[in-house]
Every structure is written in C-alpha cells, then in structure tokens.
Amino acid sequence: MKIVHLTLLVFVACWSAGLSGVAHAKDEVGSLIALRGKAVIERTGTTTAAKVKEGILFNDALATREASRAKVLFIDDSVLSMAENSKVVIKEFLYSREKGGKSIFNLLDGKMKAVVGRTNFEVHTPTAVAAARGTTIYFEEGIKDGKRYTLIICGETDKELVITSPDPKIKDTAVLTTGMMIIIFEGEPFPLPMPAPASEIERLESLTEITDFALSIPGPFAPGTGWLSLELPYAPTIDQPPLNKTTPVTIDLIFK
C-alpha cells in the first residue's frame, strides 16, 4: 500500500512537472517581440499600451493601431505577425512540450500572418475557421461591398489547411494546400479554392512583416557615466619596516 501511495505521489509530481508548459489563465502564453507604431492589450476589461517584451496571456486581445504592426511569439513557437488596424484574441491555449496541445485565435479584424507551431492551431474569423499544423497562413478579415469576408492563403506546407464555417447552417469544407487561397463571404457557400497570385502573397507579406524595425535601435550613451566606473577614495599603503624597539636606560653613577 505504501508503495502504491509513493508511486501515486511520484506520478503526480512528474505529471505536474510535465505540465510546466501548460498555460493556465494567469500564465504567459507568448510575448510581444516586435512593435512598430502603437498597439494595445485588452485584458480583463482594461486597455493598456503594449510594449515590446510584454507578456501575452490567455484571453488577451491584441489590437494594432493605424500604421502599426506587431509580432508575437508564443511558447509553442507559433508566430503571429499583425498588420495595422488588426485585432486578435487568444481564445484558447493549452500546450505542453511532451503532449503538444491546442491553440485558438479569434481574428476579429485586419490582416495577419501566422506561422504555426507545435499545437493544433486554429484561427476563427466571423466567416471561417482554419485549422492547421506546421504551416504558414495569411489571413485578411474585413468588409467589402457591405459584406464581411475572410481571405485565407496557405503558405508553404506539407500538410493540409482545413477551412470550415462557424455558421452551423453552412456545412461546407475547403482544403487548401501550398499556394492556394479562398475568399469566404459571410452567409455564402464556400467557393472553390484557387491558386493565390504571387502579388497577393507579397501584399500580405509586406503588410504584416516588420523587417527594419523588428529589432529596437539603442540610443547613444556616453561612456564612463555608469556607476560602476566610480573610483573610491584612494589611500596609499605604507609598508613600513619595524620601528626601533630598544629602550635607552639611564644609569646614574654616584661616586662616594
């Protein structure tokens, strides 16, 4: 019985250690690694300005402003690159190094490039649900001629990108492979996927990538102004030899 208890204890300890990569509500699931312009994070009802190196939590909504771009790296090595005026919500994120996991993002508006990591990856838009593993996907969500649409381009992959509809009335499914795209309008059946023009891929690539500004530029600093260059008061050491220790004795001679 003792052995059973001990085994259970060890098992629970190992399971807990193995879950070190599992994201709970308060854990960071990623971090904002690059920002050009302005972006905000909406978290538990408050909106704050996003900063580079800031952690992204489960249920956060990240929104970029005009002429702005953001790049987020997640703990499963997924990468989201957002164009201006885009908004994405981290709807679900469960991941462990050993078991993989699942991640779901809601793209509410704008354009985004996703590099899928080690989880079963899904992006939900108002008009489409894309599920994939191990690929690069471009998304554009917007309104055209009064109708909401989602454009999806499947980048290079050796797996399939499966598209379904969030509308229970639309049972269509589309499968995209490398270089294929689909534009899905709200409330309409899925069209057939078609080859994505190189110009479309280049357009979305240029709108989402932050090449020259991805790494922050340090400012100049004057050398020698840091605290650690302070010199402390100087004091010489005098390594003197031993002093003369003899004590002179006075002897009074009295002659009688």
């Binding site: 050796d158 090449t211 100049p220 004091a235 002093l243 003899t246």
Partner: protein, 437 residues
Amino acid sequence: MGWGKLNRLSVLVIGAALFFSSSFAHATEATYEQHIAKGIASVEGDNYSVAIDEFSAALREKPGDFRATLYLGIAQSRSGAAEAEATLKRARSMRPDDPRAGLELGIFNFNRSFYNVATYYFDDVKRIAPNSEFSRKADDYLAAISESKAAKRWLLRIAVGGQYDSNVVLNTAEGPLPQGISNKSDWRAVVTLNGRYDFVRAGEGSASIGYNFYQSLHAKLSDFNVSQHILDLSGTYHISPTFDLQGTYAFEYTFVGGDGYDYAHSLMPSLVVTEGKGFSTTVSYMYRRNHYMNSDLFFDNSDRSGSYNQTGVVQNIPLYGNIALAKLGYFRDNDGTRQAVWDYNGQRVIAALQFALPQRILIDLSAEYYRKHYKGAFVDGGPLRRDLVRTASISVTKLLSERYSITAGEFYTRNKSNTPEFDYTRAVTSLFLTARF
C-alpha cells in the same frame, strides 16, 4: 535490368527526391520564421548568444537571406563580437539602399570609439533615408560624437574624510610599543586629490597626464602623517575592436612625518582583451624602481631600495545584466633590494565585486590573499621569513548628486608572519565626502 524497370526506378527516385525536397522547403519557411522570431525575442531579452544561434539557424534555412544576415549582424554587434562588422557589411552589400544595415555599422563603430568611421555611416543613412526614424537615430549618434569631441578633457576629484586606524605603526599584537610611540591606533583626517587631462583624444587612442595627491594628518601620531604625490603619463591604443594596448609611466614621492620616505619610477604596460558582453581580460606587467630613504624613524629604510616586478592577469565579469561587476585577478611579483632579508617572491589572488543598489547606492567588496616568501631571515639564524597577508574591504557609496557622494568603508589586514616583528593586524574605518568635477 530491362529499360522498363530502369525507367520506373528512375521515376521513383526522382519522385522521392522531389517529395522530400518539397517537404524540406515547407519545413524551411516555417522553421526560418520561427528562428527569426526567437532570435528577435532573444535580442530584446539581451540574450545575444541565443540570438546569434537562432539567426545563424535561420541563415542555414535560407542561405543569403538579407533579413537573417542583418539580424545576425545586429545580434553580434550588441554582443560586442568583432565579426559583426563583416556580417553587417555583407547585409549592406545585399541591399545598399537599406538604411538599417548602415545605421548598425555606424553604431558598431561608435561603440568602439571609431568616430570618423561611424560618422561616415551615419551620414550615409541620412542620405539614404532622410526624415526617417533611422536618420533621426543617426542624428542622435552624430550629436553624441560631437559632444564627445567637445567634452571636457579634464576631470578632478577631491575627497575629504576621516579614518580610524587600529594599527598606524604596524605593531605586532603582543609586542610593546616602540620608544617614543604613545599608541598604535589613532584618528586621522585625510585629503586626496586626483586630476587627469586628456591631451590626445582620437578614434585610435588617447593619452593623458594625471596627478594624485594624498595627505593624512593624525591626531597624535604626527610622525606617521603621510604625504604622497604621484604624477603619471598614460596612453591607450586601440589595436582592434578586441585588443587595446595601454601604458603608464608614473613618478611617485612619499613623505612620512615630513621626512622623505621613498620615491619611485614605474612603468606599467598592459593588454586589454574585450571579449564582448562586458567581459574583458587585462594582462599586465609592472616594473618599479624604488628608492627608500633613511629617516630618524626608519633609519635602515634605504636597505629596501631596488627593483620590483609584477605580472598579472585580471578578468572582468559583468553580472546580472551589468548592474554588477566582478573582478578576479592573479599576480606574481618579486622584489629585489639591497638586503636579502627584504627580497621576496610573491603570489597574489584578488577578488572584487561592485554592484549598484536602488537609491543610488554602490557597494564595493574586495578580498586579497598574498603569499610572500623572503630570501633572508630577519634574525640571524632564524627562519626565512614567510608572510601571508589576508586583506578584506567593504565600502558603501551613496551618490548625493551627480557631483557629490559619501563613502563609508572598512579595511582589514591580517599579516601573518613567521617572523614576529612582521606579524600584525590592522583595521581602518573610513568616512569620505567626494566631489567630482
């Protein structure tokens, strides 16, 4: 094997090659993006060695890629690696009209004080991308270069304070005080002055002249008041981004109790190796010619005159994101005098730690272990003298403003010797107010 079978086999081989190569290409793009993203995160987290690995991996996925080359060069530059220059130049040659590579080359040379070269790159960035964030950053750096060139060439530091010395006369623990000496411990006031003037300042190096003055005034033991003057000429030459050559000549004159105690000439060349990320190694040599003078208090002092040699190496280690600096050093020295009783060979190990706390407080800790083997016995027929000197010190400095600071310190020495006359303990407690100009 018939032609039919050979053709089918060829088709199979070619098909397999195409399949695996296309799979490899699919993995390559996503893998490349992930390496780039992880490298960016590492640079922003100041983890440059990881960033270099990630961008190098991205380059293996996409050889000759501009973005990976540029980011690799930036990570190398941030880490202080010398190869950053070649990498950034490669990126710049791929896209000559991209301002970021040129800006980073300017920053790389600025950080090495090669201001003329840095100015060339910053001017080029302003030409390529006027009215951009890059040109504004280039302007910031150009302004810093102008400030540096116009910056004052001199500095002056004055410290005034008091000390309590538990053993001014370096008396042994049990021994009686020498004749005429009322006590071994005493209070003293101390004034120090340190000045330096850079008379040469160029991208390749600098030269300066310095003067240091020390004066102590004891409350009772005025015979042990020390006045010391040190004049020095120093120079630095940047051999390369990794190696700097430094040299100092110094002349020193010391008075004790108003009488001449010693004067000395010193030569100290050293080589500084910059390993990047704040790490550096200094290999040094010192030659010192001592001339000790006899006085009423030290009537055999001149026996100690001679030549002193020291070689050593010190390693500087930044800690905790550069808010702390550790030093480890090892030295070997020998002193050749007029009497074998004063000649010795020594080995010394030092360790120091300096770190900054909030509220503008600086802590300095140091320890030294010094073993000296003398070549003569102090008493005829006695053992060859062996000294083991252990020293420890701590000081706390509070910056009151950019100009003024206050320092409290404690300095402890235990000189354990097999010759009783040299076995002593000493502790000095200090409080100083320092002004910098």
